[in-house]
């Protein structure tokens, strides 16, 4: 509407700046800017416009729950922790079945990945210098607390075993002095300890994410551990295929293949068990793309492993594909979760449905909303 010729002199409208806090969280979308009637707003989540649902109420489309402040390093940790766990189990198997190269490489992989993973974990803390406060308590109600102790123990054992392997590789040139015999004596217990903690290390992260109210993770509560151990298995297998000669990587290939099957199956079963709104972030947007590629790479890697695993190059390539697949799975799941909180419908709709279902089933005394 132009009333005067002076209108042309107006400065352009400023683009809507985002709120500083909360990273990319968007405070309002087009629909919310409607009439200030906060009760009845369609929601706009980043980059995806969800059509306005008339039955849907929220407060200006703002999130009901918050995403944890977890960024890339956490996905890296999830990935590396899985590789470490699987590798240590391969190393233990290799130790038992006398596959020295696999044993050595897997042990070193485990040490490297758990070390880097721990650094990533620390990096993501708000106050990294207080990392050791994790060791103040043991809390059974906190997967993070238990996980810290698991990582701590696993890391210690990995350190012992890694040091041994490095010492061996360098022809016992590490300046270990009197510690060397001790270290040697510790190999057995350390390997045992490592292999006991490893599967828990691989699976607890499922509980870590599952034990939240982040819609997609919460809904995946019953499946995430399966997905994560599968992903750990295929990644560890892949790592071994990259690092070790084909002669010794038979078990790794089998494990990787099993991992691929577990990965694909558990992901599908997880999605099926979810409310469509909760599953949506796993299938759309960047996380969806990552997960699609994760699946493709897993399948390609799996086929490569099965069909060409005895060829060093194909094995290495397949291993790399599997590693990438696992990393993408972790990134995808992490970001799908972070994404899922942005649309309050993913929280409200499933909750309303479950509340209605309970009421329909005659349970009406457990609602948070009451009239007396």
């Amino acid at each position: 509407m132009s009333i005067t010729d002076l209108d042309a002199d107006r400065p352009p409208e400023r683009g809507r700046r985002r709120r500083r806090r909360g990273g990319g969280r968007r405070r309002r979308g087009l629909h919310e800017m409607g009439m200030g009637d906060g009760s009845r707003e369609g929601a706009v989540v980043e980059d995806i416009e969800v059509e306005r649902a008339d039955q849907f109420d929220s407060y200006y489309g703002r999130p009901v729950v918050k995403a944890p402040p977890w960024k890339g390093p956490i996905a890296i940790y999830l990935f590396l922790g899985g590789v470490a766990a699987g590798s240590s189990m391969l190393a233990f198997g290799a130790q038992c079945t006398e596959r020295p190269a696999l044993r050595r490489n897997a042990r070193l992989t485990a040490l490297g990945t758990v070390g880097l993973g721990t650094l990533a974990l620390i990096e993501d803390l708000g106050r990294p210098e207080r990392f050791l406060n994790m060791m103040r308590t043991v809390k059974v109600t906190s997967p993070m607390s238990l996980g810290t102790w698991i990582v701590g123990g696993f890391g210690t054992f990995s350190g012992v075993l890694g040091a041994l392997e490095v010492d061996r590789m360098s022809g016992q040139r590490l300046p270990l002095g009197p510690l060397r015999p001790l270290l040697g004596a510790a190999e057995g217990p350390a390997a045992l300890g490592q292999v006991v903690l490893a599967p828990v290390l691989a699976s607890y992260t499922g509980a870590l994410l599952g034990n939240t109210v982040v819609p997609t993770w919460e809904a995946g509560r019953g499946h995430l551990s399966y997905l994560f151990v599968s992903s750990a298995s295929l990644a560890a297998g892949g790592a071994a295929m990259v690092t070790s000669p084909v002669a010794e990587t038979g078990p790794a290939r089998l494990l990787a293949t099993a991992g691929v099957v577990g990965d694909v199956v558990s992901m599908h079963r997880m999605k099926e068990s979810m409310h469509p709104l909760e599953a949506e972030p796993l299938e759309t947007g960047r996380p969806g793309t990552m997960l699609t590629w994760a699946e493709r790479l897993a399948i390609v890697g799996g086929i490569g492993t099965v069909l060409g695993g005895r060829n060093r190059w194909i094995a290495a390539a397949s291993g790399a594909a599997l590693l990438a697949s696992s990393a993408l799975t972790r990134f995808g799941v992490l970001h799908a979760g972070l994404e899922s909180v942005k649309d309050p419908r993913r929280v409200i709709e499933p909750q309303k449905e479950r509340l209605a279902a309970r009421r329909a089933a005659g349970i009406s005394d457990d609602s948070i909303t009451t009239v007396g």
């Binding site: 009333i3 002076l6 209108d7 002199d9 107006r10 400065p11 800017m33 009439m35 200030g36």
Partner: protein, 889 residues
């Protein structure tokens, strides 16, 4: 405040109480919990409406029609409180034969002088012989049947204020009107009371004082004055805005509502007789004593009976010298120096542009504030600098910014909205150069006196003879209690010499006492700072008489004699406040009785004496010369004895009641930057088709000097916005939370758009009226945390003649989507609209479009830079009404 809880119905009109006075609103909630109803009448649905039982949207500026309609309703249906009306109001008083009502004169009262645009109120007088009138005994007809009784005049005056008229003027449905009228009728009488609360939604109109009068009439008719849970609560907006009218820094009055002398009042006796005569009833009969005591307080031993107590030291007024007149004078170059004591006129006063241009025309100015407000920095970052019109290099004004001490850094008293004086203890000393205004003024005075000490110029005598010696502490801060003691007054001679007075009745006319503000006498009784009394509220009844001190005489509810029937018995057990105790032979009750303590209810009064002795036992309105509550105000109002509806000057609606469109006494200033839309009176009115109204919100304070510099308040309301209805947004093409440009005949500003159903278009006759809400807290500058365009830039300096307060509530504008132009283009946009509206035709500039139009104010455009309406308006203390009128902020 606490008295809200005693009301059965609370009508909040012209106030957004929950937002502007949130803590006082607890008493409204309390009343609601006790079962009271709350009705909110307001153009906007606000946070007050959200907590009311009903919100009635009203077209801004039509309150007199709505309440006039209720008055008609209760008169026609005999729903008024007859016993009360007969005993305590002037309903039965007969008015002069010469009186002519707007009903007869099509919108004008008798006595109008079109030349000056003012009334001679001689024809509004009571009937009766001069001597009886002087003694407050006019002719009366107790049957109320005489056609010239106030009662009958009132009936005729409001006869056409019908529900239909209410609908056609206010845009209020008959159902809403019925609801309000019925609620008021049902909640008045012996058993129940209705309370009105208003604020700037009434005062900031040209005719605002009359809006308050309308509710005063209604409350008198319903018997709600002087009773618990009744009355009219003026919700004032600043910590001691009541105090600053009681002890004024206002041009037209001296402390205690004594007027400033006007030119020609060269005789002291003549001056005091103009305030109150010795023969008249009530407490104004002693005006001479109050004045003498004030002059004694100021000039001490130099004030003697021989020299008229130093009366001739007082400067004389020649007209209105209000803040807007001063602005015009600044623009003309007639003012050199300007002091701002914590005020931000660049943002807070009407027509911000003229305010800033005025300041740019000074030689020097002193800004005393906590922060670098826009009034301190306009010369470097004001809108006129942005537009390139001015540069600092062109501005000669020498600026002194002196940091001020805040309320925790000095001791002193505030008087809150219910006249209660409360003392603040000092917590800490002010930082660095920060000083209290007390210290600043005292020290400046000392320095000036020192510099003039050898002067023989008679002009300087008033300064040199001034009592100007207060004890100071080690930081040079004067003892505020010593000042309070002077305000209170003391015995100067006799056995009590040096002791404080305990009541203004102790003041003497012989110079043996002094007192700086007679209504505050008693605040320092017994040498104790009564304002500092702090008996916890939990340990007292609701009246809480031992907390602080309320003037006069620690009385919490004025005219509380009226809470008892003529025989002195409470109207009802439920609404008991003050009553006659036959055994004790005195008035008693929960409050300090507002009546001579031992005067019996059946005392006929002694007309041969003046003052309190002349009051009859039923003359409950003790400040009035006839002892009655005034339904009809023969004096005191410059625009008529009865409230009459006029349209706002910029209104696009023709006055549905009279040919007279706008208030004929309204005041305006001619300036090319102070133009007005002709509204319905000229073709150009349609160029500014929408009404805008400005207001305060909870999160900010006035011009922002005490809120926009505070992070925690700034984040709550960070940007200037306008509130529009969905219908208006659609009509204009506004995007929610996008930008809009609002253009008035004065300026153009931009604001974020809040599209909300809280704004409702009103159907008024054929026309759909769209109202736009604009909070006025923001200003253009660079120092505050949050900044924005100032709504007051849109408002003209157009004043109510009674109070000289500007009309901020009802002005017209155009509305465009998008941001306003930058730089000089902003001015061009404003000009383009003016041209289209015909406000600046090329050959005949600066003529108000309303001039010459039928029924318009007669002298529009002819009086340059001058006011219409004599300043004596609020300068004449005529009792109840004028007390109230002082509260119009």
């Amino acid at each position: 405040m606490q008295d809200f809880a005693n009301a059965d119905l609370i009508v909040i009109e012209g106030s957004n109480m929950a937002e502007a006075h949130p803590v006082a609103f607890q008493w409204v909630i309390e009343a609601k919990k006790r079962g009271a109803r709350v009705i909110h009448v307001d153009p906007r649905f606000t946070r007050t409406s959200a907590n009311a039982d009903r919100h009635i949207p009203i077209r801004s500026g039509t309150d007199i029609v709505l309440l006039g309609g209720v008055i008609r309703h209760v008169l026609e249906n005999e729903l008024f409180f007859k016993e009360y009306v007969q005993a305590y109001t002037n309903a039965s008083t007969i008015i002069s034969e010469q009186f002519g009502d707007p009903e007869d004169l099509d919108g004008l009262f008798s006595g109008y002088d079109p030349e000056s645009g003012t009334y001679d109120n001689g024809t509004w007088a009571y009937a009766g012989d001069a001597d009886s009138l002087a003694r407050g005994l006019p002719e009366r007809d107790e049957t109320l049947q005489h056609p010239r009784t106030v009662f009958q005049i009132l009936k005729r005056h409001y006869a056409r204020y019908t529900p239909q008229m209410v609908q056609d003027t206010c845009g209020i449905s008959p159902e809403d009107f019925e609801h309000l009228a019925t609620a008021i009728a049902e909640n008045s009488g012996r058993q129940r009371t209705t309370m009105f609360a208003y604020a700037l939604g009434w005062t900031q109109h040209q005719g605002g004082a009359q809006m308050i009068r309308t509710s005063g009439i209604l409350q008198l008719l319903m018997g709600n004055m002087g009773r618990p849970g009744g009355g009219i609560m003026a919700l004032r907006g600043h910590a001691t805005i009541q105090g600053s009218t009681d002890i004024p820094t206002l041009y037209h009055i001296l402390p205690g509502y004594l007027p400033m002398p006007k030119v020609g009042q060269d005789d002291f006796a003549e001056f005091t007789r103009a305030i109150g005569t010795k023969e008249q009833k009530g407490f104004w009969a002693n005006a001479d004593i109050y004045t003498i005591n004030l002059l004694k307080a100021w000039w001490g031993e130099h004030a003697t009976a021989e020299n008229d107590w130093g009366y001739h030291h007082l400067p004389k007024l020649t007209g209105a010298h209000g803040t807007y007149q001063t602005t015009m004078r600044m623009l003309e170059g007639g003012v050199d120096g300007f002091f701002l004591f914590g005020q931000n006129p660049a943002v807070g006063s009407a027509n911000g542009r003229l305010q800033r241009l005025g300041m740019a025309n000074l030689e020097w100015m002193v800004v005393r504030d906590f922060y670098m407000t826009e009034s301190a920095t306009w010369w470097r970052d004001g809108p006129e600098i942005e537009s390139g019109e001015l540069t600092p290099e062109q501005i000669a004004t020498e600026m002194f910014f002196l940091p001020a001490a805040n309320h925790t850094e000095k001791a002193g008293s505030f008087t809150q909205t219910q006249r209660m004086v409360q003392w603040r203890d000092q917590a800490v000393t002010p930082p660095d150069d920060a000083r209290s205004d007390l210290q600043f003024m005292y020290e400046l005075g000392c320095r000036i006196r020192e510099k003039l000490k050898d002067s023989t110029d008679p002009r300087d005598r008033a300064i040199l003879e001034l009592t100007w010696d207060y004890p100071v502490d080690e930081h040079g801060e004067p003892d505020a209690e010593a000042v309070l003691a002077e305000i209170n007054g003391r015995h100067l001679s006799g056995e009590k010499a040096g002791q404080p007075l305990s009541a203004f009745a102790e003041m003497k006319a012989d110079g043996s006492t002094d007192g700086g503000c007679w209504i505050y006498t008693g605040v320092y009784a017994d040498g104790i700072n009564q304002a500092r009394r702090r008996t916890p509220g939990q340990e007292q009844d609701e009246m809480a008489a031992d907390w602080g001190w309320a003037w006069p005489a620690n009385r919490r509810i004025l005219y509380n004699r009226a809470s008892a029937d003529p025989q002195g018995r409470p109207w009802s057990e439920r609404k008991k406040l003050v009553w006659w105790d036959e055994e004790a032979g005195s008035w008693t009750g929960h409050d300090v009785p507002d009546f001579p303590l031992t005067k019996r209810p059946d005392d006929p009064g002694d007309p041969s004496q003046g003052g309190a002795a002349a009051l009859a036992g039923t003359d409950a309105f003790t400040m009035q010369a006839d002892g009655r509550g005034w339904l009809f105000a023969p004096t005191g109002m410059v625009d008529g004895p009865l409230p009459t509806h006029y349209e706002s000057p910029e209104s696009n609606i023709r006055n549905p009641l009279y040919a007279q469109q706008s208030n004929p006494t309204r005041v305006t200033f001619q300036d090319e930057d102070n133009l007005s839309s002709p509204g319905a009176m000229g073709p150009g009115g349609e160029i500014y088709p929408y009404v805008f109204t400005t207001y305060r919100i909870t999160e900010h304070h006035t011009a922002g000097g005490m809120s926009r510099f505070l992070p925690y308040l700034s984040e709550l309301q960070p940007e200037m916005y306008c509130e529009v209805s969905p219908e208006l947004a659609a009509e204009v093409g506004l995007e929610p939370y996008g930008w809009a440009t609002i253009i008035s005949a004065r300026s153009a500003i931009e604001a974020k758009v809040l599209v909300t159903e809280r704004m409702k278009p009103l159907q008024v006759g054929e026309r759909t009226v769209h109202q736009i809400g604009l909070p006025f807290h923001w200003g253009q500058g660079t120092e505050a945390i949050v900044r924005g365009d100032g709504a007051n830039d849109l408002i003209g300096m157009n004043l109510d003649a009674n109070t000289q307060i500007q009309n901020s509530k009802n002005n017209s504008c155009a509305l465009l989507p998008g941001r306003r132009p930058r730089g000089p283009e902003r001015g061009r946009l404003v000009e383009a609209y003016r041209r289209r509206a015909g406000l600046i035709p090329s050959e005949d500039p600066a003529v108000d479009g309303a001039a010459g139009a039928p029924g318009a104010g007669p002298a529009d455009g002819t009086v340059p830079h001058e006011v219409r309406g004599p300043e004596e308006a609020s300068a004449v203390p005529s009792g109840e009404r004028s007390m109230k009128e002082m509260k119009n902020r």
